[in-house]
Amino acid sequence: MIYYAMALYPEARTFIRQMGLKKCVEETHMQIFENENTSLILTGVGEVQAAAAVSYLFARRPPLEQDLLINVGICGSAQQPQGTCYLCNKIVQQTTGRTFYPDILLRHPFEEATLTTCPTVIKDGARETALLDMEAAGIYQAGQMFLQPHQMTFLKIVSDAADGSRLSKQQVEQLVERHASVIIAWSKQAQVCLARQQSELFSSGEYRAIETIAAEHGLTLTQWRQMQQLLRYYKLEHGDIGALLKELPGRMESGKQEGKHYLEQLRKRIL
């Protein structure tokens, strides 16, 4: 799953259109657009709103280890060329001075920069070397409760010189549109790359077989964990646990000793 967090509709419009996302009508508190692989939430402007929106999104749609959160938005910068899209390797929360570092493990086509998240629109940012936005630090802090640092990516497109000038909705849409297809394509492939690293060891069929046997032999929670450990090792060494599970006898005796005896047999067979 790829989760996009964007402050305002003009930033999101191209993404919604290009990915064919549909608005979730049952969501009344937040605007969320979805298809089967993607969720896009409009966070609103400012750190607190953004953090609240991301928390809301993940509380209702808990992310997995291979999922990604991508924050896309416009930003100000007097030093960087307008229209350029940057991937942020450091996020500074201006109000507290706290810093956040997303892990950048995967290759990407963007330039990198430091970003400062400010509580208000900066109108005199001529001397600021960092990019300036109003949401990223909040999104990072909310995101880190659900995600690991490599699962969060912050992409900012320079829209103005941090001098108080404002773009029209159409101008914002055009600016974002120039980068949307690259961002979408990269995000999909990045998610595929992460998913490849997170494959489950046991298939659902194997899980069911393990559960059936554990119930049959009356394994306690501790014994069940020990059994999983033994089978995990066996599968990694031999590639299949089906034959092994069939090979061992069914319930041998009644009473509490049954689980213990079964585990002993399994252990002896594996080691």
Binding site: E65, N89, K90, T99, Y101, D103, I104, L105, L106, R107, H108, P109, E112, T114, Q144, L147, Q148, P149, H150, S181, V182, A185, W186, K188, Q189, A190, V192, C193, L194, Q197, S199, L201, Q226, Q229, L230, R232, Y233, L236, E237, R267, I270, L271
Partner: protein
């Protein structure tokens, strides 16, 4: 640019995080020159990056970053129980680098550190100062390459050369430099020193290939050890950790034979043999970080807070390897780790 066929991991040290305090240190400048294409980011403290919550050690190992920092607190530690003291009373270790270039599946660092990124403390002079302070109290046996592989990093750091030079001027200091690299050539021009021990960790080649990712081949390590020993260095050979696998007897007997055919037994200072062991909580974290490692998922037995092979298997392996090594070395040169160190 719109069509990405695939996205892969960035190369090691694609990013270098530099503490403000370390920014103008000579070592920092040297390292940065070696990685001109790296993305540099200034940080306040190395822990801002190294100690972030919920980092994925296993994934970070595929694209480790470099953190350059200045050491400010105590950095000489007493030797821990799972480590061998080789009979030294004042056994200590120090880490001028945290984490390793290599990626051994059994490595305890993945259960100890929150991050796989490498932290290099650029002010080695501070460690030297602390060593000198301790030397005023008593002699010191100091392992300098436990939480990293310093010789493996020698091209980048040159720390082994500095340590050896330092040891030469401090008689009551003995240092051990342990490695899985083939980098002896980087220090081969130095005059051997009595109080420096070069130690090579040795595993059968198939184990090295399967579990010790990125390390030098067994043959290359042995070649380095043989050259060092022939040049007059104190050379220690470490069959540690000894790992169980089907037909382990064949692999380890071959390893011992190959070792002493390559390195003259008369030139060896000593040898250590130790089975795999990991502290209880560390193994839990290691398994979480590397869920698909058969080596880590082996159902080890918990004994006195340390996970290890079941006793019969551990004793059989240790004693058998000791017998093979005993064909070449006298008993006083063979040190065992059996849990009671």
């Amino acid at each position: 640019m719109n069509n990405f066929e695939s996205v892969s991991f960035k190369p090691a040290f694609s990013h270098i995080y530099i503490e403000e305090k370390a920014l103008h240190h000579q070592v920092t400048e040297q390292i940065l020159q070696k990685f001109p294409r790296a993305q540099q980011t200034i940080i306040s403290h190395y822990k801002d990056v190294f100690c972030r919550s919920r980092q994925q050690f296993g994934l970070q190992k595929k694209s480790p970053k470099l953190i350059l920092a200045k050491r400010e607190n105590a950095c000489i530690y007493e030797g821990a129980r799972p480590c061998q003291s080789f009979g030294y009373t004042h056994f200590y270790y120090t880490s001028s680098v945290m984490n390793c270039l290599y990626d051994c599946e059994y490595c305890y660092l993945q259960g100890m550190y929150p991050s796989a990124n490498l932290v290099v403390f650029v002010n080695l002079e501070e460690t030297f100062r602390q060593v000198e302070e301790l030397l005023q109290k008593h002699p010191l046996y100091l392992c300098i390459s436990y939480d990293t592989d310093l010789l493996g990093l020698e091209s980048m750091l040159g720390y082994v050369r500095q340590w050896i030079t330092f040891a030469k001027t401090h008689e009551n200091l003995t240092i051990e430099i342990r490695t899985k690299s083939a980098n002896y050539s980087k220090i081969a021009d130095l005059t051997p020193s009595d109080n420096v021990i070069l130690a090579w960790t040795l595993s059968p080649q198939e184990i090295a290939m399967r579990y010790e990712h990125g390390t030098a081949t067994t043959a290359a390590r042995l070649k380095g050890a043989a050259l060092a020993a022939a040049n007059g260095w104190n050379v220690r050979l470490c069959f540690d950790p000894v790992l169980w696998q089907k037909n382990w007897q064949i692999s380890y007997e071959q390893l011992v034979t190959e070792t002493f055919e390559t390195v003259s037994p008369n030139d060896i200072l000593d040898c250590s043999i130790g089975q795999f062991r990991a502290a209880k909580d560390a193994l839990k974290r290691m398994r979480k970080n590397r869920p698909n490692s058969a080596l880590l998922q082996y159902p080890y037995q918990l004994q006195d807070g340390v996970y290890q092979y079941e006793q019969a298997r551990a004793v059989e392996m240790t004693e058998q390897i000791k017998r093979w090594v005993g064909n070449y070395l006298p008993p006083k040169k063979i040190f065992l780790w059996q849990g009671e160190d």
